[in-house]
């Protein structure tokens, strides 16, 4: 299998991060993401980002594996920054209650230190969620995760559906690529040379074959599952299930501490969700 096809999908390796249960990773992911989403304190956000990068390293994830995803997010976050500036150039002034002009841009637009600081904070806020998402996606065994979801009371059919989706992600991705190339050979233009509406119409030329070939796949897998007794009982056991270990509790504890720390900074130090260096 080539490396490109494994993009975005679970890679097995033996690191402490991989050894964590899927449930633990979900809990930690939610706690840390919430901590970042709650806080508008650049110091807190940067600290958590550094922590995320350390975990990324511990999970032995190579940059080449995630380059594409990082690129997409960067483009998205930058676009978002530009647009939000043009729609609300005074947001920073409104939040921090002071005005320190840097320079005028055009017409009524003024760039202020407040706005620059606010947008930098937001930029890192979005960016710092990415490593956690990547870690979760790349180090969680879908089946084991399904068993964990089932363990906390999620219906096992739903849990299994989640696992199957994660599992087929790389396959569908590969199909998409093959179909897209074959359609490009027939003359399909996907670059920005085509008009927006044409591009939308053209994307249907890929999506329709993708749906039909995926339906073939679904029929086979659902027959295979029926024939081996899936959904016959109210419960099922899991070959891939893992028991929570000391490592899991430690990870959850660390995440809770980070979460509480982020909240405490807002409540006790900043007295607001924002850190205000302008006062």
């Amino acid at each position: 299998m080539n490396a490109k096809a494994k993009l975005f999908s679970y890679n097995s390796a033996n690191t402490p991060i991989h050894r964590l249960s899927g449930l633990t990773k979900l809990i930690c992911f939610l706690l840390l993401t919430f901590a970042i989403m709650f806080s508008y304190d650049l110091r807190v956000i940067l600290a958590v980002t550094l922590f995320a990068l350390a975990v990324l390293r511990a999970a032995q994830i190579q940059f080449s594996q995630i380059r594409l995803m990082v690129l997409y997010v960067l483009v998205f976050v930058l676009t978002n920054a530009v647009i939000s500036f043009f729609f609300a150039p005074e947001q920073g002034v409104l939040i921090y209650g002071t005005r320190h002009n840097i320079f005028p841009i055009y017409g009524g637009y003024q760039l202020t230190w407040e706005q620059a600081f606010y947008q930098t904070t937001k930029f890192f806020k979005y960016l710092s969620v990415v490593p956690f998402g990547i870690i979760f996606l790349l180090t969680t065994n879908p089946s084991e995760f399904a068993s964990a979801l089932n363990g906390v009371g999620v219906n096992y059919k739903a849990a299994f559906a989640v696992a199957l989706t994660l599992r087929y992600f790389p396959d569908v991705q590969r199909d998409y690529r093959d179909i897209s190339l074959a359609q490009q050979a027939r003359g399909l233009e996907l670059s920005n040379k085509a008009k927006f509406f044409d591009r939308f119409k053209n994307s249907l030329l890929i999506v329709i074959p993708l749906i039909f070939s995926s339906l073939d796949r679904i029929e086979v897998i659902s027959n295979a599952m029926d024939l081996r007794g899936f959904a016959k009982g109210k419960t099922r056991t899991w070959y891939a299930a893992k028991k929570l270990t000391g490592l899991d509790y430690a990870a959850i504890l660390i995440s809770i501490l980070i979460f509480l720390a982020a909240i405490s900074v807002s409540v006790w130090i900043n007295h607001s969700r924002f850190y205000n260096p302008f006062l």
């Binding site: 003359g187 086979v220 891939a240």
Partner: protein, 569 residues
Amino acid sequence: MNKEPIIEFQNFSFQYYSQAEPTLRDINLKIYRGEKILIVGPSGSGKSTLGHCLNGLIPFAYKGEIEGSLKINGLETKEQNIFNLSKIVGTVLQDADGQFVGLTAGEDIAFALENDNIPQSEMRARVQKTAQMVDMQNWLGSSPFELSGGQKQRVSLAGVMIDDVDILLFDEPLANLDPATGKTAIEIIDEIHNQSQKTVIIIEHRLEDVLHCDVDRVIVFHDGRIIADMNPHDLVSSATLTENGIREPLYITALKYAGIPVTSAMQPGYISTLQTELSREALNVWYRAMPAEEKKSAAPRILSIEHLNFSYDGVRRILNDINIEIQQGEMVAIVGKNGAGKSTLSKLLCGFEKPDSGAMRYQSEDLRDKSIKERAELIGLVMQNPNQMISKPMIYDEVALGLRLRNLPEEQIAERVEKILKICGLAPFKAWPISALSYGQKKRVTIASILVLDPKILILDEPTAGQDFRHYTEIMEFLVELHKIGLTILMITHDMHLMLEYAPRAIVLAGGEKIADAPASSVLTDESVIHKANLKETSLFHLASMAGIENATNFVQGFIDYERRVKRR
């Protein structure tokens, strides 16, 4: 043999609610405990439907009307449910990839146990034990990507055997396997049958490949009815096969060409039991009378590939220093096991991937300077699964798509599409929706939609995969027609019959290298190439050696030439 049948059909008929006619009509069949049964028949003959009736997909997943009775282990199946039946009948489906439910081999084998709420510790022990039966105990942690086609099939087999079922049902087990893996699969089934004494039912249209090992009875389906139920020796010496669109073993065809009447006394069911004492002389006479086919003069070169190298990750070479020259109007087979680099080669030619180094030329034009779209006007690629290409509901629109995307005027499009539809035999269906077409016709539509761009070279990925003899012949004869009007055709294939019958030249890839480039007759009689590329020697090779003919390659080539002359007539 046990008197008690384990499976008993009585006046059994079945009609899908979605069909106007019954798919199975008036089936009466008894299968006894421990028997090994082969069920053959062309596509649409009802053989797969019969399999669905046995494992409970009918009527529990596919709805329809049942008449008559089907008893398994003495119990009427329509009063059971699919889960009870799955404890008696274990089904191995044809698509080894698609039926892989688990993320690893171990998990896949355990799937049925998970659904039975077996505790994890017991589950692991039973998986270990069952994996040993199919020799997969060292691969339990591997993902499907890391397993070969044959290994995946072993996993599927273990996954149904873990329940200790009484009946093992194989639905077209050979469809997606290369020849050598298919041969091994048949041997594994045989081994399991001998060890476990389970009842084994194999549904397959590739008769000769299944008859690599013993079977007790062969049941022939046609139009939803059982038209023959006999042992292999009687079957191949009767006219049943040829009359019903099932390919007879090649050595039988050869014997017939040599004018030797095939009788069941010759034990012709398997090549290993075939008695040739009396036919040796006739075979030799036929062999000596074969005229030497004159060599065609070399046509101008249309495609050249020089020192081509490629890898996806920069580490493992998928293609290593490939050199190939194709002449105008050739029909070439590209063969080799999965992962040998065949599909990658076609992707490089079409510009879907960029080579690390090396040159590719169309006549004298460098292909590397051309975009995917420009190359498509020289080299057309037809993907294996028509569903991966079809994106319009109507045939006309689908074929016209490539031209419309090139913004040609609509009158010109109409003219070109009509011409192609005529060439492809699709003119009568012009206004039809694609959903009304059979698989083979859909394949034609995809070929037409590529041909409309007027490429000079056509590459087909597994053009006949999963097709029965009639559809196979239909598709291949169609390609021959295209070949006759001057198209150069490259076919990526596992099918050895296709190589023998339709490819004067075969290029063999193994481990990313070209290991042979020769007529199919010499490739399929060369043991070292056969071994490296997961091919299988043709039964004609054995027939030649049984008849004491030294030059098997010439014999095979003579057979091919003879057959071509017969067909041309």
